[in-house]
Symmetry: C2
Subunit: 108 residues, 2 copies
DNA sequence: TAGCACTGCTACAAATAATGTAGCAAAATA
DNA sequence: TATTTTGCTACATTATTTGTAGCAGTGCTA
């Protein structure tokens, strides 16, 4: 699966609209979970593996590469961390946590 | 693939934390794109198919069922539309559009 | 009221993506 | 130097998505 670059055709949008590229990227297994977790603290590969209970190292590695190439995360001496863009992205994801809790009430 | 119900184990979270259930649901192919599009206008199955250029009817139908059971969309005489929860979800997704445009600049 | 078009799907094989397990080389630690 | 830990890679199995065909129901329209 290739990296969804905005401006280029991506899965589901020949025009490569940025929002579609972003949805393609974030929609991949574990992408949002990784960003979510890294917002709490920088983490090593193994820590992310432990956090994302059922991710395979194959997929985790692929996601990390994609998120790195997309400028959302980077690898430092402390492990993987969010970049400035990554932090901004998290700011958009963060309110979903509260929303999800309210939404969860629908299933009780 | 079963519906990720918050409170139950979902892909990647045995505890079924709401945010993880939401990420699981929205992370599936086309889920965010469908919500995005329905925020513009109610749409029929075929309209969604045309919008989501490469979605297969199989997957589209599955996503529509999941989003319906998750209370984010519903089917009316005008086609599929967002529910109140769906609209709230879109309000969270919407800022990503602007963000994505800025992010796209990184790839020029 | 017999066509014809359109809609909302279902079927199913082929292609693509993710998982699960094993394990290895490099770096850190003892 | 011997372990342990880390960051992966390999690869077979399983799950998901695509792509294409097509069908039944509804609504025109002649």
């Amino acid at each position: 699966m290739s990296l969804p670059i905005p401006g280029n055709p991506v899965r589901g949008s020949k025009s490569g609209q940025p929002i579609m590229a972003l949805f393609d990227l974030l929609g991949r297994n574990w992408a949002m979970g990784i960003v979510w977790h890294l917002s709490k603290s920088p983490s090593t590969f193994r820590q992310l593996q432990a956090y994302c209970e059922s991710v395979s190292p194959t997929t985790l590695n692929l996601r990390l590469k994609e998120l790195t190439e997309s400028h959302f995360i980077e690898r430092t001496v402390n492990g993987y961390t969010l970049t400035e863009w990554g932090k901004q992205l998290f700011d958009l994801l963060e309110p979903m946590g509260k929303f999800a809790k309210g939404w969860a009430g629908k299933f009780k």
